[in-house]
Symmetry: C2
């Protein structure tokens, strides 16, 4: 009589399209077979032991970040396809690596699933989890980030905690704390598009689910005209190449990724650098379809916000993504707001009004 | 007008006993102030940037493990104090490091909280989260494991994903795959106590909450006579010193930690080593209050199960914890169960009947 573990081994090697996938070990085997097809530099031991083993190159240190993604908070089953939810879960962590100028080494995924998601009709292909993993692993492959381990548990809602480990030459990581008064403030790409997508997704999601009747939550089809805007939210591109180049070419003095919104993330950068900042709204590269409010306070852009010493000669773009000066760094003073925005009446305080849990 | 971030900075430096702690940034500040009081070797940048930075020693590689702990699955609000839940969440990951013979370098915590837990009456001290962090950080301190980062999100139930990063000299980690036919099978400490605690906790939890009326879930007081047994479940001690010594002294050929139950974890070890194993139940160091069934299939012991080459001279204990030979490793054969248990009628197959999600 074969043991349960032998059954799960079969699921790894056999065709899975028509074989029921039941239980934790079988699901883990499916993920392992998708994730572990080849070996990767830097990973000396992958999925299948108590720990994975990561081998640093001489002279490098590791950057580590964790991001918890929860259905209903970070994505919605009636807005996001499983592929988009998987892509976004990994993109959040990759964006943190990008902000440090780190090269991805490995990702770890702790996945929480309600019973129905783990085993909808006993088949793996086409299941919510399989499609979530497809979205996640497609971005992992594109960014050369192997999935090296993780955990799986039953939870009341779908959730994914992603751990990203990257490498940087020791002492060279881009930090939030490196900005000095006199530096210029830059942003990659465009801002506001991530948040400006939300009202469209809300409307489309309602329409889609009005049609669906009681058949469960269904993410909408995206009209062609809205695709470029909504892609900013549904499939954000972490700026790994830009972060790496900013660090390697010594262009940036400080950096942070724009996940919670410009007003909030710039406040974080200023606090860690003990400086103030002034943003000129006329300079902001606002994404078509967004407006100034989305650009200043909307989250989910996953662009890099960074500072540059005034004498640095800056390229106009890195790897096809524009770099735009949007303001400057000022000394922190008791009577000055941490972040100000220029108006015809002069600088006005810009309160952090981006995303905050439990607020 | 102070920004929200300034408020959260005040929460770090000021006395927090009587100040309301509201919102994500304030909660993170509290955790940061508790966790980040001193600097640690190996962490070149802790909480407060996009990533933490970990600096490996020359010739070392990093062991990484993630463990997702969910209320209702891994602990119960009517069985476990918040301190016990926090202790157990960290102990699971430390036990994985112990199984590799790794030295802890850093922990990361992704914490999910329902709104009520994040801010019960606006006070930090005495709140469920504060007590959870107390339990987690007490074990972190005892095991010299600094909390270097993490994430916080609103979730329908309390959950904690713990990431542990440890270090081992390159190529020396204890693996599941190192066992060979002829090796002897050992276990640290005692087995069965973790699972044998559960019926007691179930009974005590019911009694405690019958008294509590509608006042919410309340973990029970533990009667003195049951304390040693229930401590096996409520405050398991990861065998870090034993794992380190087994690796450094070259005593073990393979190792795994007993988290899911002996029958399941031994099957994992055998599969990764491509061997079979035979357990002699008469040799099992069964914890007082447990029985053979708990010892073979109960999880939550967090002891180390390891193999030893037959010529190795084994000490009777390491750092006060007994080492007991419980069986031997055999060649894998088509007509032989992966794991067998000796009976008066000869060896009988031992199916993995430990913990599995979605089973």
């Amino acid at each position: 009589m074969p043991s349960r573990a032998n059954n799960s081994r079969k699921a790894v090697t056999g065709s899975s399209a028509s074989r029921p996938v039941r239980g934790e070990l079988a699901i883990l085997s499916q993920i392992r077979s998708r994730a572990g097809r080849s070996s990767f530099p830097g990973i000396s031991l992958g999925i299948g032991d108590d720990c994975a083993l990561l081998r640093p190159r001489a002279g490098e240190e590791f950057a580590v970040t964790t991001d918890l993604t929860v259905a209903g908070t970070h994505f919605r089953l009636d807005w996001h396809t499983p592929e988009s939810a998987g892509h976004r879960a990994l993109a959040r962590g990759l964006s943190d690596l990008a902000a440090m100028g780190a090269r991805p080494v490995a990702a770890f995924l702790s996945l929480g699933l309600p019973r129905g998601f783990a085993n909808p009709k006993g088949h793996w292909e086409g299941s919510w989890v399989a499609r979530f993993m497809d979205g996640l692993l497609a971005l992992a492959e594109a960014s050369k980030t192997p999935l090296a381990g993780g955990d799986l548990s039953e939870t009341p809602v779908v959730l994914a905690d992603i751990v990203l480990i990257g490498a940087v030459p020791t002492g060279t990581a881009l930090l939030r704390s490196g900005a000095r008064a006199g530096d210029l403030l830059y942003v990659t790409g465009s801002v506001g598009g991530g948040a400006a997508s939300l009202p469209h997704l809300n409307r489309l999601g309602k329409e889609s689910n009005a049609d669906a009747g009681a058949g469960g939550l269904r993410p909408p089809r995206i009209p062609k005209a809205l695709a470029p805007l909504l892609a900013r939210h549904l499939a954000p591109q972490p700026r790994l190449a830009q972060g790496l180049a900013l660090r390697r070419r010594g262009l940036a003095s400080a950096a942070i990724d724009l996940s919670d919104g410009l007003s909030t993330d710039l406040t974080h950068l200023c606090e860690e650098s003990q400086v103030a900042a002034e943003v000129d709204p006329a300079l902001l590269p606002i994404h078509p379809g967004a407006d100034l409010n989305y650009a200043l306070h909307g989250g989910d852009d996953y662009e890099l916000l960074f500072t540059v010493r005034p004498a640095t000669r800056m390229p106009k773009a890195i790897a096809g993504v524009a770099l735009t000066c949007i303001g400057r760094i000022l000394p922190a003073r008791a009577n000055r707001a941490t972040v100000s925005v220029l108006t015809p009446q002069g600088p006005e305080p810009l309160e952090p009004r981006g995303w905050e849990h439990f607020a």
